[in-house]
């Protein structure tokens, strides 16, 4: 049988297609790598260290591609990313120590699983509510929204409130606004803690945290989150690479697809109105929460069929949102909407 880098041709093609879908997510939302790839590899029968290690290396490679693309559009705040990385590194260490502590007590699996479900659901509800309230605002008469304060309106209310405290030292962000170093470090530490605790890249926490707590525009949150993913993915890939568990065949096949998907996803941010897609993203996270919960229940009840249902839900919802992004992108191009100027 024809083989490519140790993978059968069918499996290689499957990973290329799957990588494309993940790439669109990564480019558009700045997240979606490890929380989609790791469960998929586990379901396909790869051992956990190979699944996590290969996923980390893939996240690193895709983050490099997507960051370069967002860099071209001037949507990466490197200073913010570097400041956050210090907190993220400390947080990852604390998170992994917490897991080892819980393992001694014999409750690590349960606590991590429940935390994962709650976190995905909470972020999903946050995005869905935000999208629904934006729809309600848009339906109302608010012509003043187009006033000269429009850029400030892009920043969520909660972030504006946090910014108003002005706790020194204040750091100037790439867009000229300011954020407290304490907020940046706190967010970095919190995101790192979640990453280390759940054993995931953390993009699905990092991007909303930058947007809702530090208060950048959504486009800058996505670009900066990708830069964070590049750094944490690099650290993760090095750690797992030392253990010799990264399958380069899987990583290469996924990258072949994701490099194209990330270009299209990143490019789509210039055409697709975020509000058109945010609600689907929120719903996808809610479905992912349900999928992970089913996976946990499947392990407790020893019912493999629930594991399959969980996989179908996870991949199906991701595929649906990916199609929605491509559809909205095509509609925007069809209507001749101008792309945002790139650097």
């Amino acid at each position: 049988m024809f083989e490519l880098l140790g993978l059968s041709a069918d499996l290689f093609a499957l990973f290329v297609v799957f990588g494309f879908m993940v790439g669109v997510f990564f480019g558009f939302f700045g997240m979606g790598g490890s929380f989609l790839v790791t469960p998929a590899l586990l379901i396909l029968g790869y051992p956990a260290p190979v699944a996590i290690g290969s996923s980390m290396a893939f996240v690193f490679g895709t983050a490099v591609i997507a960051t370069l693309k967002h860099h071209d559009a001037g949507q990466v705040d490197y200073r913010l990313g570097a400041l956050m990385f210090v907190g993220i590194t400390v947080g990852i260490e604390l998170g992994s120590r917490l897991v080892f502590g819980l393992e001694v007590l014999g409750i690590a699996g349960v606590v991590v699983g429940v935390a994962y479900v709650i976190l995905l659901a909470a972020i999903g509800i946050l995005f869905t509510r935000s999208a629904l309230s934006d729809d309600a605002d848009a339906a109302g008469d608010e012509p003043e929204a187009e006033s000269e304060d429009a850029p400030e309106d892009d920043i969520p209310e909660i972030a504006q409130k946090i910014k108003s405290y002005e706790l020194p030292p204040m750091m100037t962000l790439a867009d000229g606004s300011e954020a407290s170093l304490w907020t940046i470090s706190g967010v970095g530490g919190g995101v790192g803690l979640v990453s280390g605790f759940l054993g995931v890249g953390g993009g699905f926490v990092r991007m909303p945290a930058i947007y809702y707590l530090i208060g950048t525009s959504l486009a800058a949150a996505v670009g900066t989150s990708l830069f964070g993913g590049l750094m944490s993915g690099g650290v993760g890939a090095f750690t797992y690479g030392r253990a010799g568990v990264i399958d380069l065949g899987i990583v290469t096949a996924l990258l072949l697809g994701s490099a194209l998907g990330a270009r299209i996803g990143s490019g789509a941010t210039a055409y697709v109105d975020e509000d058109d897609v945010t609600i689907y993203f929120g719903l996808m996270l809610l479905i992912a929460s349900l999928a992970v919960a089913l996976g946990e229940v499947s392990a407790w009840l020893a019912m493999p069929v629930l594991d399959r249902v969980s996989f179908v839900l996870l991949i199906g919802s991701a595929l649906f949102v990916c199609a929605i992004i491509l559809y909205h992108g095509a509609v925007a191009v069809h209507r001749g909407r101008d792309a945002a100027p790139s650097a």
Binding site: L5, G6, A57, F60, G61, T62, V64, I65, L68, K69, G234, A237, F238, T239, Y240, G241, R242, A243, G244, V245, I246, D247, L248, G249, V251, T252, L255, L256, A259, L260, R263, G267, A330, V333, H334, G336
Partner: protein, 52 residues
Amino acid sequence: MTGTELLPGASPTVAALAVIGLVLVEAALLYAVYGVLEDKLAPPVFKRIQRR
């Protein structure tokens, strides 16, 4: 294929760095190649979508 298989006998650190380097090179190459494809194919694809 893992990093260990790529560089048999190399220390774990060297093997890990080789994996990261390879992924970085792959990512940069793919970025460049797809970039050229995008420049060549995007305008006709956009025109076709707009005409529909």
